[in-house]
C-alpha cells in the first residue's frame, strides 16, 4: 500500500512540475489558436536566467525568479509582436511551424553563449519527511504550493476579471472582438505576457527538480501538450488536472508495465480519453445544428 501511495506522490509531483507548462500551452492555445512549440524553450530561457542570476546574486532564488519572469515575459511578448501577430490570419500550421523555428532559435542562442554544460539551482537538499514509509520531500511541497497558487491566480484572472473575459472573447472570434471594440492587440499582449510568466515559473520548477540544460523545456513539450489536450484546450483547471492524472497514471503503472512503457502508457491514456471525449476532459464539444 505504502508503495502505491509513494508512487501516487511521485506521479503527482511529476504532474505538477509539467502542469504549469501545460497551463501556459493551454492558455495560448485557447486564445492564439495554435500550439506554441516555443513554450518549452521559453521555459528553458527562464530556467537559465534564474539559475545564472541566482549564482550571480549569492544564492537568491527570488532575485533569479524575478529576473527570469521579466526576461521570459519580454521574450514571449516579443515573439508575439515580431512573429505571431503577423501570422494571426494564417492557418494554424503556419504559426506552429514558426513557433518551432523560434524554439530552435532560442535554444541556439542559449547554447551559443552558454554552451551545453548543465547548471543547477542552489537549493538545500534535504531528506524526505517520513510518515511510516510514506515519503514526502520538502521541496516538493514547496513546488506544489507554488503551482497551486499560480493556477489559482490564472483561474481568477481568466474567469473573474474583465481582462479574462476579453481574452476569452478574442479566443472565440478575433474579428468580432475587434468589431465590438475590444482592443485585441492589448489582450494578446496580456496573454503572451501571462504565458511568459507561466513559462518562467514552469521552467524554474523543472530546473529545481532536475538540472538546467538547453533541452530542458523542449523535452517537456510533448507531455505538456498531452496534458493540455487531455484537459481540454481553454480549460486551465483541466490542463493541470490532466497533467497530474497523466503523472500518476504513469507512475502507478510502473509495477505492471515497467519503466519504458510507462511513458507510452500516458500517451495511450491520452488517446483512450480522447476517443470517449474528443474535446478532452473539460473541453466544450462543438455541436452541429
Amino acid at each position: 500500500m505504502t508503495e502505491y501511495i509513494n508512487l501516487v506522490i511521485a506521479g503527482t509531483v511529476q504532474g505538477l512540475v509539467i502542469a504549469l507548462a501545460a497551463l501556459a500551452i493551454s492558455l495560448s492555445f485557447a486564445v492564439a489558436r495554435f500550439p506554441n512549440a516555443a513554450t518549452g524553450d521559453t521555459m528553458t530561457v527562464g530556467a537559465y536566467v534564474a539559475v545564472l542570476v541566482q549564482a550571480a546574486t549569492a544564492g537568491s532564488l527570488l532575485a533569479g525568479s524575478i529576473a527570469a519572469i521579466i526576461v521570459t515575459t519580454l521574450v514571449s511578448v516579443a515573439c508575439y509582436f515580431l512573429v505571431f501577430k503577423k501570422l494571426e490570419r494564417r492557418p494554424l500550421v503556419a504559426s506552429l511551424i514558426a513557433s518551432i523555428g523560434i524554439a530552435f532559435f532560442l535554444r541556439s542562442m542559449l547554447t551559443f553563449f552558454l554552451g551545453f554544460e548543465q547548471h543547477v539551482f542552489q537549493i538545500p537538499i534535504s531528506r524526505a519527511l517520513n510518515f511510516s514509509g510514506i515519503r514526502i520531500i520538502p521541496i516538493d511541497l514547496w513546488l506544489s504550493g507554488i503551482a497551486i497558487l499560480v493556477l489559482a491566480a490564472t483561474f481568477v484572472l481568466l474567469f473573474l476579471t474583465p481582462l479574462g473575459r476579453r481574452m476569452r472573447a478574442v479566443a472565440a472570434d478575433m474579428d468580432l472582438a475587434r468589431a465590438s471594440g475590444i482592443r485585441s492587440g492589448r489582450v494578446m499582449i496580456a496573454l503572451w505576457a501571462i504565458s511568459g510568466v507561466l513559462s518562467a515559473v514552469a521552467g524554474i520548477m523543472v530546473g529545481i527538480k532536475t538540472v538546467v540544460t538547453p533541452d530542458l523545456g523542449w523535452d517537456l513539450l510533448l507531455p505538456a501538450f498531452a496534458a493540455a489536450i487531455l484537459g481540454g484546450i481553454g480549460s486551465p483547471g483541466g490542463a493541470v488536472l490532466a497533467a497530474i492524472l497523466l503523472g500518476v497514471a504513469q507512475e502507478v503503472s510502473t509495477p505492471f508495465v515497467g519503466f519504458t512503457y510507462k511513458i507510452a502508457l500516458s500517451f495511450v491514456a491520452l488517446i483512450a480519453v480522447l476517443i470517449v471525449r474528443p474535446a478532452g476532459l473539460f473541453g466544450q464539444p462543438e455541436r452541429v445544428r
Binding site: 472573447a169 472582438a177 471594440g181
Partner: protein, 233 residues
C-alpha cells in the same frame, strides 16, 4: 451636417473593387436602409465603414472624426456599434458575459438589466453560453450587445434575418425607437419593404454601385424597385 458622410468610397478584398465610388450620408437620429441584390456589396460597405474591409479608399467622416485614420476598435469608441451579418456572438461566453464585454458604459450592471428588460428571451437564458442559443436568440443577443454603449450610430447587417415574425416586428420597432434614444441607424436589410417602412431614407445597391437613393416612401412606390429589388408586397 450629417453624422456619417461617405464620399467617393471604393472598397474591396483583393485588387478589384467590390463597392466603388459610393456616396452616402446618415444624419443624426436618422434611419437609413440599404437594400439590394445578393452580393451587391452591402456587407462590404458596412465593413468598410467599420474598418474591417481589407482595402478602402475615399473619405468617411463621422461626427467630426476622419474614420479612415482610426482603427476598427477606435471607431467603436467614437460612438459606432456594429452587428455583423454572420458570426455575431461570442459562442463560448455566456449571454451575460457577452454583454459585459461592452465596458464603455457608466453603470454596466444597470444597463444590462435594461437590456434584459428589452429582450426577455435573453434574460431567461442569461447563463447559457451563446453557442447554445437558437439562431434567432443569437440575433437578439448581437443586437443587444450593440445597444449596450448607447451608440450615436448603429450599423446593422441584416438584423432580422432568421427572426420569427414576432421578433422581426420587435426588432423593427426597436430600430424605430433608436432616434428617440439618440441613435441613428444604418440598416442593411433584405426585408426591404418592412424596413423602408420605418426608415427615413434608403439606398439600393446593385453590383457595387448605388442604383437608386431617396426618401423611403418614394422608393417603396417605385415600380422598377418592386420589380428588381423589393419583390411583391
Amino acid at each position: 451636417m450629417s453624422l456619417l458622410s461617405i464620399e467617393n468610397v471604393s472598397a474591396g478584398y483583393g485588387e478589384i473593387d467590390i463597392v466603388s465610388e459610393m456616396n452616402l450620408t446618415v444624419a443624426e437620429r436618422e434611419i437609413v436602409t440599404i437594400a439590394g441584390t445578393n452580393g451587391a456589396g452591402k456587407s462590404t460597405l458596412v465593413k468598410a465603414i467599420m474598418g474591417l474591409a481589407p482595402r478602402c479608399n475615399g473619405a468617411i467622416a463621422f461626427d467630426g472624426h476622419d474614420l479612415l485614420k482610426l482603427s476598427a476598435e477606435d471607431r467603436i469608441s467614437v460612438g459606432i456599434s456594429y452587428v455583423p451579418q454572420v458570426a455575431n456572438v461570442f459562442a463560448p461566453l455566456t449571454v451575460t458575459e457577452n454583454l459585459q464585454l461592452v465596458e464603455a458604459v457608466a453603470d454596466q450592471r444597470a444597463r444590462i438589466q435594461e437590456i434584459f428588460d428589452l429582450f426577455p428571451a435573453l434574460a431567461a437564458r442569461r447563463r447559457a453560453t451563446a453557442g447554445s442559443l437558437s439562431g434567432g436568440e443569437r440575433q437578439q443577443l448581437a443586437f443587444a450587445r450593440a445597444l449596450m454603449p448607447k451608440p450615436k450610430l448603429i450599423l446593422l447587417d441584416e438584423p432580422t434575418a432568421a427572426l420569427s415574425p414576432a421578433l422581426v416586428l420587435q426588432v423593427l420597432q426597436l430600430i424605430q425607437t433608436l432616434p428617440g434614444l439618440g441613435s441613428a441607424a444604418l440598416v442593411v436589410e433584405q426585408r426591404a419593404r418592412q424596413c423602408l417602412a420605418i426608415s427615413d431614407r434608403g439606398y439600393i445597391l446593385d453590383s457595387g454601385r448605388i442604383v437608386m437613393a431617396g426618401e423611403a416612401r418614394a422608393l417603396l412606390a417605385d415600380e422598377q424597385m418592386t420589380k428588381h429589388y423589393l419583390g411583391r408586397a
